[in-house]
Amino acid sequence: MNQANLTLKDFASDQEVRWCPGCGDYAILKTVQKLLPTLGRPRENQVFVSGIGCSSRFPYYMNTYGFHTIHGRAPAIATGVKLANPELDVWVITGDGDGLSIGGNHMMHTLRRNLDLQILLFNNEIYGLTKGQYSPTSRLGTRSPSSPAGSIDPPLSPCAVALGAGGAFVARSIDTHAKHLSAVIGAGHAHKGTAFIEILQNCPIYNDGIFEPVKDRATAPDFRVEVEHGKPIVFGRDGEKAIRLDRERLCLEVTGADAEDVLVHDESNPVLAQLLAAMGGPGFPIAIGVLYRHRQPSFDEEFSRRKGKSKEGNLAALLQSGNTWVVD
């Protein structure tokens, strides 16, 4: 198939999409289907691997190779796909429960190894498919069927965890923020190594509106900041606010955009990335965009190099290696 002529429709499968009306997953699906034809890679080389949960139905709706696997294990299965055929573009589709709770171990080690694949983690801060229990990213005090009096375990930050595990490309975006999301996923795809992308995604049934302050046009300027490499970290309706580093206490502070020491985003700085990943809470915006990007050798490159060194193994010679003797 001529790659140049492919459109969004060529990447949509014939399966009826079965997410709830208003689910953020629709928007993400559309963005990915629209992005893929522009990546200049053959459709047959695209493989989507998912675990279990609402987000993990994603591969069924993509007209590419796809594998809907078991809970939490998508990164491990994707690892096998990539090692068996490094030519493939491998995408992991997972959620906050799938990727960070039951599958947290695989997530950590996949990031550490830096396999060349894209991990899209749909974070809706709730378990959807099992009907609304709190998840490892649910805010403290979340009332749910399994926490009627409010959850008592503090949440983790997916991007902070990814950075802690040695992730070399860590980014955050928003389900319905198509242009930004597309650019971030595209950058993740271009990155050689594991690209971890947290996508804030609304669950209209069990956790509706949780990201509304970040998404609503009226409030977003105060609640989110788009970081871009080399540019000052500025936000607010009129760009009047900014982020600076309190060098005494090694923490971020909100300041005026006209301040002298406004932080300039440097996506190669892992310490800054940690601070931005963790940023949020009263008075602070949350950061979206590429928080950290660092090129380092990917596992599959080294794996293929070693494996491909020689294919000269001679079976007969192997069986006869070492001490043998002849019986006449």
Binding site: E44, N63, Y65, F67, R73, G80, E87, A316, L319
Partner: protein, 628 residues
């Protein structure tokens, strides 16, 4: 049936020429007993004897010196007739310290030879082994031939010119002992000398000291005035089919069988595993084979290992994972996914004593039920088990054939004994091995993952990267026709039946069950599977020699069972199943064939002895009527 043991009637060392001999080298974990045993094994193979070996080591890596729980041993049975076990009782025990003597003496035959390093029988070591008095002096070994030498001193003297220092020189005592045992059985030192030169190529002084100790031990035998009844014993060569031979352990044969299977099928292997005793050696062996079509991956856990293997199979390689019982249990959800999505996968279980951590370095066959039934849902898959170390080569290839030919996970059951034991192997000619080429869907025409071969019922397999074959698979039930998600009641029934029929149909594609020894019907069939082969073979052979009507049947395909097995077993008045568990295979046979199968279970972490099989046959024959 209760496990009892008959002492085999053997006093081998009374003659100058003996048919077969069992030697056990025992010492501290750090005494180098495994290396000693390996070199003696090689010399014995080169001499022309048939042989079987059994390394028996503790779970502790370096136990405290002199402790009974730290005794590491290597046992070898060699002879001029077919040897299929590492032997029941010891003709020769090499005891490098009191703990080695204390833990092994009960197993030495009356009149057997004990070689002890007097230098290590210090007050401290004696106390650690629980001896109030020195057994070398108090007459408690009077029923045995005793060769009591200060081996430590002898080794130090031999190594002295090489200036290694006391500690390193003392390490040569295993080679001194080996030299002496080599003399005792007229073995050649050449291969060991070469091995030492290779092993210590960068430390010629260590090689030199060890070779000097080896030669000194040998010379000691030749020249010293030894007690009466201790002399050179000649074990005539075994009669063997012509060909090229080598020694091979089960692990080696399994690894090489996987490589051969991949080559003969034209497919790449991805071997994903997580370290666990006693399965890790397979990972090590394959990690050294980068020149073949195999990639090895040490995963973060057992689940990741099986999932990585499954991902590789989805991508068009053959995923292989390997573990022992506790690890295989963790893989079970992944295996069900591979069954549901009909992807090839090999799961190798090197069984060890269970449950839980159990006995990591000891052998057992208690994962059979797990292999057959231990998954959620109705999830049939083929289960096969090699019977001997060399057979691991054939069964690994068989596993590759079944997995790729039927698009199914396959479980191969090895065990701690099979993995570490070595036997002689007539090396097959590669050109004689059957080719089993893998077929992938081509890039023309409409593709559905659900299309299947009408004969084998295997679904077709499309490699990602092939244009036009883009498709989705997953663990949700799929429509029998389109392959898409389906929650239709009738479809789930149909797919469940289909999965069952596909595996059951493999029975038409495996060899009929043959009788290993004896008639195809009669009074008693002793039925085994896996590594019990050797002991059952010898037990039945001896019973038949006494005139008993008993046959040996050994099953390699445990699921599906060979089609004629039920009928075959029905032709016997009684069926006895010795196995290293509490009767799992016996229960399977009872359930499948409604036969009155009797179980002989053993779960001591040690393989069956010939005398235990023989005692059970005798008991059974007494019950069923007199010998013919």
């Amino acid at each position: 049936m209760e496990l009892t043991e008959e002492k085999l009637d053997e006093r081998h060392l009374d003659e100058r020429e003996v048919v077969d001999v069992v030697v056990r080298f025992a010492g501290d974990s750090g005494d180098g007993m495994q290396l000693t045993g390996a070199n003696f094994t090689l010399a014995t193979a080169l001499y022309g004897n048939d042989l079987s070996t059994f390394p028996d080591f503790p779970a502790e890596i370096r136990a405290p010196v002199g402790a009974t729980f730290g005794v590491s041993a290597f046992q070898i049975y060699f002879g001029s007739e077919d040897v299929t076990t590492a032997g029941d009782a010891l003709d020769v025990l090499v005891a490098m310290n009191p703990a080695a003597l204390a833990t092994n003496l009960a197993n030495v035959v009356d009149g057997g030879l004990v070689i002890a390093d007097r230098g290590a029988f210090t007050a401290k070591n004696l106390a650690k082994a629980g001896y109030a008095a020195n057994p070398l002096d108090d007459g408690s070994l009077a029923g045995h031939r005793l060769l009591d030498i200060d081996i430590s001193a002898q080794a130090l003297a031999a190594a002295e010119p090489f200036g290694l220092g006391h500690k390193a020189s003392l390490r040569c005592k295993n080679m001194w002992t080996l030299g002496l045992v080599m003399w005792l059985f007229d073995r050649d030192l050449g291969a060991t000398v070469n091995n030492l030169k290779t092993k210590f190529a960068k430390r010629p002084e260590i090689a030199g000291a060890n070779i000097a100790a080896l030669n000194a031990g040998h010379a000691f035998g030749e020249t010293a005035e030894l007690p009466s009844g201790i002399h050179v014993y000649r074990v005539p060569q075994a009669r063997s089919a012509p060909g090229l031979y080598r020694n091979v352990t089960g692990t080696q044969a399994l690894a090489w069988g996987l490589l051969a299977g991949a080559e003969l099928s034209g497919i790449e292997l991805l071997f994903a595993s997580y370290p666990i005793t006693p399965a890790s050696n397979l990972l090590h062996e394959l990690s050294n084979r980068g020149d073949f079509r195999v990639g090895t991956f040490q995963a973060e856990d057992e689940i990741a290992a099986v999932c990585t293997a499954i991902g590789a199979s989805f991508a068009g390689s053959l995923g292989v994972t390997s573990s022992a019982g506790p690890g295989v249990a963790l893989k079970s959800e992944g295996m069900s996914l591979a069954i549901s999505t009909e992807l090839p996968l090999l799961v190798i279980d090197t069984q060890r004593g269970g449950p839980s951590t159990g006995l990591p370095t000891k052998t057992e066959q208690s994962d059979l039920n797990m292999a057959l039934f231990g998954r959620h849902g109705d999830t049939p898959l083929p289960v096969i088990a090699p019977a001997t170390p060399p057979e691991c080569f054939d069964m690994a290839r068989e596993a590759v054939r079944l997995a790729t030919g039927y698009m199914t996970p396959v479980m191969l059951l090895s065990d701690g004994y099979l993995a570490n034991a070595a036997e002689r192997w007539r090396i097959p000619r590669v050109e004689d091995l059957a080719r089993t080429p893998v077929k992938f869907a081509g890039d023309s025409g409409e593709f559905r993952p659900s299309r299947r071969d009408p004969q084998s019922l295997a679904r077709n397999w499309a490699r990602p990267g092939t244009p036009g074959l883009e498709h989705r698979i997953g663990g949700i039930e799929s429509d029998h026709d389109s392959g898409n998600i389906s929650y239709e009641p009738a479809n789930h029934q149909r797919m469940t039946d289909l999965r069952q029929a596909k595996i059951a149909g493999i029975a038409h594609d495996i060899p009929s069950q043959e009788v290993d020894q004896g008639a195809a019907s009669g009074k008693l069939a002793v039925v085994g599977w896996g590594s019990t082969y050797g002991a059952i073979h010898q037990g039945v052979k001896r019973a038949r020699g006494e005139g008993h009507d008993v046959s040996h049947i050994h099953v390699r395909h445990l699921c599906p069972l060979p089609r004629n097995l039920g009928e075959l077993l029905g032709g016997f008045d009684a069926v006895l199943v010795p196995e290293m568990n509490t009767g799992q295979f016996a229960r399977l046979l009872r359930a499948e064939y409604l036969l009155d199968v009797e179980s002989l279970g053993k779960v001591s972490g040690q393989p069956f002895k010939i005398g235990e099989i023989l005692a059970a046959i005798h008991a059974k024959c007494r019950k069923e009527g007199p010998a013919q």
